[in-house]
């Protein structure tokens, strides 16, 4: 019984911490026209289009390289 309460509390805490990020992830899989639609909560046709667009953008590699440089400097 007490163990059950403990797990319930842990579940509440974890979902509170992670829920906004999960929502952001779900949103990232939606097509643009779905963004102004609620319900449904889940993407109708999950798509990686936005992720593909990131890597197709010319600047992305530069941005990643800059972040890596910054990380390297922070580690020194």
């Amino acid at each position: 019984m007490r163990k059950g309460m403990l797990y319930l509390a842990a579940l509440v805490v974890v979902s509170y911490s992670v829920a906004p990020l999960v929502w952001q992830f779900l949103t990232s899989l939606k097509m643009d026209y779905e963004l102004t639609r609620i319900p449904p909560l889940l993407p109708e046709a999950p798509s990686l289009a936005h992720y593909i667009a990131i890597f197709k953008g010319r600047m992305f590699l530069r941005i990643i390289a800059n972040s890596a440089q910054r990380g390297k400097a922070a580690l020194k």
Binding site: S17, P20, Q24, L41
Partner: protein, 284 residues
């Protein structure tokens, strides 16, 4: 005696570096705050305390100050209370504890700008998931009452893990013998918490309070990205106001005066806590 002197010389390079990168900029801002500057006309005249005199009459400043104090007070109290609850939970032994500890840190790991954008979308009055889940129709970021509270909720969500981790470290320093001894003396869970955990955790709680108050008082990115200080400046904090005056309307002198005020306030808060700590917790 001589060794101390030699030591001083070894520390000199570090002191000089600190002077160059922190003390000089601070002095420069103070110097700028005593001037009236119009960059495009090349006007720069010494006006003494004129900027500060104006500041005392500036309603927008007082508004920003009260917003900042409200933001700091409410968010820090919530963060410490929730953080303590989280820490107590994570201190228990149960299966999957490591996973829970890792997941609880997620909000803290996301950059503030990203989480502010994320929450902006969650709060959206028309398509936000918050309204959908609550079944309400509130314009969270457009309502003068809710906007500041929305920013506080986001800050609490983001920073509670930080408080929780520090408090958890403090909890683990409390020897288990003390709990056993208190139990033998007949203490229940409430008394254990009240007379063993709380007193021994006090120094850590004070440290969390200091860190969080100083951070929250200077809050900029969370508020600036989430609401930009709106609606009608109801979420404008001192840092956001100083930024707008300095870099958007380019009133270098007055903006510097605002920045100096933030600096002085933060200094006062820090001094207050240190005095309190030195006396109550026996820490120095």
């Amino acid at each position: 005696m001589r060794r101390v002197e030699t030591g001083t010389w070894f520390v000199m390079p570090a002191i000089l570096l600190l002077a160059a990168v922190t003390i000089f900029p601070i002095m420069d801002v103070v110097y700028l705050s005593l001037h009236r500057k119009l960059l495009i006309f090349g006007i720069s005249e010494f006006t003494g305390l004129q900027n500060y005199r104006f500041l005392l009459q500036d309603e927008r400043f007082w508004r920003a100050l009260s917003n900042t104090i409200y933001f700091t007070g409410l968010s820090v109290v919530l963060e410490v209370v929730l953080g303590l609850a989280l820490a107590l939970l994570m201190n228990r032994a149960f299966r999957g504890k490591g996973l829970v500890r890792a997941l609880v840190l997620v909000p803290w790991a996301i950059p503030t700008v990203v989480s502010a954008k994320m929450w902006e979308w969650i709060y959206n009055g028309d398509f936000g998931v918050l309204n959908y889940l609550l079944g309400t129709k509130v314009n969270w970021l457009g309502d003068p009452f809710w906007a500041l509270h929305a920013a506080i909720i986001m800050d609490v969500w983001k920073t509670t893990p930080f408080a929780a981790i520090l408090l958890l470290a403090g909890l683990q320093l409390i020897p288990a013998d003390l709990y056993s001894a208190a139990r033998v003396d007949g203490a229940g869970p409430v008394r254990l918490f009240r007379y063993v955990t709380l007193p021994l955790l006090k120094p850590v709680i004070l440290i969390v309070l200091i860190f969080r108050s100083l951070d929250a008082f200077r809050v900029f990115d969370a508020v600036y990205v989430l609401t930009g200080g709106g609606p009608a400046n109801t979420t404008e904090t001192l840092s956001v106001y100083a930024y707008k005056v300095l870099f958007q309307t380019l009133q270098i002198g007055y903006g510097s005066a605002l920045a100096v005020t933030v600096f002085v306030c933060v200094g006062l808060i820090a001094t207050g806590y240190i005095l309190l700590m030195g006396r109550k917790a026996g820490l120095r």
